[in-house]
């Protein structure tokens, strides 16, 4: 009824190639962004409902945004280019530690530059660890990327230079000063993360629509066929590794600077890598929107489930709750995969299709 593009004509190539061809999508996205950028801070200032507390920002929104950014990065590699990676945590760690060192050792560098340079370092290492992908495929590659994960876990524990010789090896984020804007309150941190995520989501969306993105997808769908068609696997795969690692690296720097404030290598361990892969698979491979949905599901569901018994006043010991959270999360993952193996993004697509036809199913 409302969601139908009848009557929207495209009169130019530019309109045909626009990022959101349907007007309703543009309006919805505009509203969503307006709510995220203006509505949420306003609600926080007014103290409406749970937006009045730090909790929603510090424990839910900020980690959600940053992990969604990392998931977008991983989705480029795994979802668009078909290279399964379990090294996400390592690239986050590289981004975090590299940014830390840039900020520490070149104090005149603006913080934004440090963060982007951190992403750049992650991209370089990503290219290096991407080279085996030219020969190793599928799950063998996934296990091989664990080499990067464990190697960098070790490097950041052992090489004291990276942690500025602190006795325990844990480091602290610098002051978050972006060209005079000192980010400190939860709402400001949220805004910062939101800006990064919006910018990178837009960049990623445009990349995957363009020439390079189509090369990635060709490689994903069948690399030998793509090669025969004249796509160079070396260039396509390594560029996917570079772009993906760059975004993950930036997300890592944000995770360390904006979310944690003080961290140790354990913050980026193997669990983080798995978590990112879950987000991408559950959200939907090859979908930017899916990265957000997957991040929301994997991050927020356990937190939510954890609080249900308490909120409803059911007396239950924390270990029972924790076990139940495990079981229910696992069961939901399994049932979601059974219902829709291609994740939330596909479910969303189906819903959109239904909405277009509604209320007349034919």
């Amino acid at each position: 009824m409302f969601y139908r593009e009848a009557g929207q004509f495209k009169t130019s190539y530019a309109a045909d190639m626009s990022i959101f061809p349907i007007r309703q999508d543009r309006i919805a996205l505009g509203l969503l962004l307006a709510f995220a950028f203006l509505g949420v801070p306003l609600l926080a200032v007014l103290g409406v409902g749970s937006f009045g507390h730090d909790y929603i920002f510090k424990a839910i929104l900020i980690p959600f945004l940053i992990l969604a950014l990392a998931a977008i990065g991983l989705n480029i590699l795994t979802g668009y280019c078909g290279q399964i990676s379990l090294g996400g945590g390592a690239f986050m760690a590289i981004g975090a530690y590299a940014s830390y060192n840039f900020a520490l050792r070149i104090p005149e560098l603006p913080l934004l530059a440090s963060i982007l340079l951190g992403g750049g370092m992650a991209a370089l290492v990503g290219i290096l660890f991407g080279i085996p992908s030219l020969r190793i495929k599928g799950l063998y590659l996934a296990v091989a990327t664990l080499a990067a994960q464990f190697f960098f876990d070790w490097v950041f524990l052992r090489v004291k230079w990276f942690t500025n010789y602190t006795p325990s090896g844990s480091v602290n984020a610098p002051r978050l000063d972006f060209f005079g804007w000192v980010v400190s309150s939860p709402v400001e941190r949220y805004m910062l993360a939101l800006m990064f995520v919006t910018a990178f989501a837009l960049i990623a969306k445009n990349l995957v629509r363009g020439n390079i993105g189509r090369q990635w997808m060709a490689i994903r769908d069948m690399d030998i066929a793509a090669e025969l068609m004249g796509i160079r696997p070396l260039y396509a795969k390594l560029s996917a590794f570079a772009v993906s690692s760059f975004i993950i690296g930036v997300a890592g720097a944000l995770w360390a600077f904006v979310h944690l404030g003080s961290w140790e290598p354990l913050a980026f361990n193997i669990d983080r890598s798995f978590q990112l892969l879950f987000m991408v698979i559950i959200g939907g491979l090859g979908s930017i929107l899916g990265s957000f949905l997957g991040a929301a599901f994997i991050l927020i569901l356990p937190i939510f489930l954890d609080q249900v018994p308490h909120a409803l006043g059911i007396p239950m010991s924390v270990e029972t709750v924790s076990h139940l959270v495990f079981i229910i999360t696992g069961a939901l993952i399994c049932s979601l995969l059974i219902v829709e193996p291609h994740g939330f993004a596909r479910l969303w697509g189906i819903a959109k299709e239904k909405l277009r036809l509604w209320p007349f199913p034919y």
């Binding site: 006795p167 325990s168 844990s170 944690l260 308490h310």
Partner: protein, 440 residues
């Protein structure tokens, strides 16, 4: 229809979980407990959490709360994971009429993360026996209270004990001491002190890291077998401890030459190794295992009413006692704060004041039923550790037996290191240290 009602119920639950908290009674002190009763470190996390809960229940049941202010507490499962711990902290910090009194995360990683957050929220962190060693310097670390002892104190006492076994500090010269440590900030904390001491006392320090979680240690122990260090200091947590003891037995390294830190000296560390653990020694965070008058009170008032958290036979285990002492220090800090601010629920800021002015005298400890477990503690602006005392106990195959006198961490070595590292931290974080001579 059925589906719709399900969705509605879920939405209602979401709203409930997100915002509306039941209106709390005004005369309640909310205390959060970050626990890990599941996951890889659960065997060590469970007894500690039980001790914490039982003591709070005791205060409620026997005394009707702290000077009439009832303790309300809520556990939050962290699974020893830093991000989960931070989430729990954010979830619990604002609950109750005055917010959380203090936090006690029982994980070095979570402690580091919260150290950044606590000053902004004005919440004290009680990290009895763990956390940053330099955080004992209260002029820089206003909100941290590493009560009872830091890792540097522990390392110092361990070296003193070895020296005593050898027959004097001068006998350390030329000896070889290995540190086998959990490869994380926790395990790396003592290295700085051991290196400092090795310069001073002339022993050779061998560093042997064990990767988390420490299920496989064959190469580490073959290294020890080949290098034959005179002593092995064990700085492990969870499965790493029992595995180390078993592997030590397998390579026939004498268990009585192994000294664990106080996080490597409890029942879950030795029982999986069975008889092979006999002779193994560990530092005590002042206290050991066993029952004291306070346990009788707990058995009567808490277990007698069926409110006990632990299995009755586990009451009095090392980590259980540690949880209890942890709670006791927190409760006494609140009591101290109430003396200044009145007998009502305290805010985090007031509890912090209470910690800093807490003076647990021998009489008070006896009154509380802890005599023999701990020594007097006195905190101040400059000293957030309270005391630097420790003993050594040994597992005889059935129970922990105290085998040494009290040692005191040597401040000639410790104080300059604390000062230097704390100053570095202050500079990095742009903190102006408080002038402790001016703090009342």
């Amino acid at each position: 229809m059925a589906r719709k009602s399900w969705v509605l119920a879920a939405a209602a639950a979401l709203v409930g979980a997100g915002s509306a908290l039941p209106a709390a009674a005004q005369n309640e002190q909310f205390l959060p407990a970050l626990v890990y009763r599941t996951g890889p470190y659960a065997p060590n996390g469970i007894p500690f959490a039980n001790g914490v809960a039982d003591y709070w229940n005791l205060v409620n049941e026997r005394d009707g709360g702290i000077n009439g202010v009832k303790i309300v507490f809520e556990e939050c499962e962290t699974g020893y994971a830093t991000d989960k711990g931070v989430e729990c902290y954010e979830r619990l910090k604002g609950k109750g009429p005055t917010g959380a009194g203090y936090f006690s995360p029982l994980s070095t990683g979570i402690t580091f993360a919260l150290t950044e957050k606590a000053p902004g929220d004005k919440l004290p962190l009680l990290t009895g026996g763990y956390g940053r060693s330099e955080s004992r310097d209260g002029s820089v670390f206003t909100w941290n209270f590493p009560a009872l002892g830091t890792y540097w104190t522990a390392a110092d006492v361990a070296i003193q004990h070895i020296a005593k076994e050898l027959g004097g500090m001068d006998k350390l010269k030329g000896k070889k001491i290995a540190l086998m440590y959990h490869d994380s900030p926790y395990g790396k904390e003592p290295i700085a002190l051991l290196q400092e001491r090795s310069k001073l006392n002339g022993y050779e320090l061998m560093l042997i890291p064990v990767t988390h979680p420490g299920v496989e240690q064959k190469s580490q122990w073959l290294q020890i077998r080949q290098n034959r260090p005179d002593y092995v200091l064990l700085w492990g947590w969870g499965v790493m401890n029992s595995t180390a003891i078993k592997e030590a037995a397998a390579v026939a390294y004498p268990r009585d030459k192994m000294i664990g830190v106080w996080w490597s000296g409890a029942e879950p560390d030795v029982t999986p190794a069975g008889d092979q653990a006999a002779g193994y020694k560990a530092l005590m965070l002042q206290h050991g295992s066993g029952k004291y008058p306070v346990h009788a009170a707990i058995e009567k008032h808490v277990y007698g009413k069926g409110m006990g958290a632990a299995k009755p036979e586990d009451v009095g285990h090392v980590l259980y006692n540690r949880g209890m002492i942890n709670s006791m220090i927190g409760v006494e800090a609140i009591r101290t704060a109430q003396k200044k601010f009145g007998n009502k629920p305290m805010t985090g800021e007031q509890v912090r004041w209470g910690f800093e002015h807490l003076n647990l005298t021998a009489e008070r400890i006896k009154e509380l039923g802890f005599e023999g477990m701990i020594q007097p503690l006195r905190f101040s602006c400059a000293d957030h550790e309270g005391a630097r005392m420790s003993r050594v106990h040994q597992w005889d195959g059935k129970a922990w037996k105290v085998i040494s006198d009290w040692y005191q961490g040597d401040d000639k070595v410790l104080a300059p290191m604390v000062k230097e590292t704390a100053a570095k931290y202050a500079k990095e974080k742009n903190i102006t240290p408080r002038d402790c001579s001016k703090v009342e």
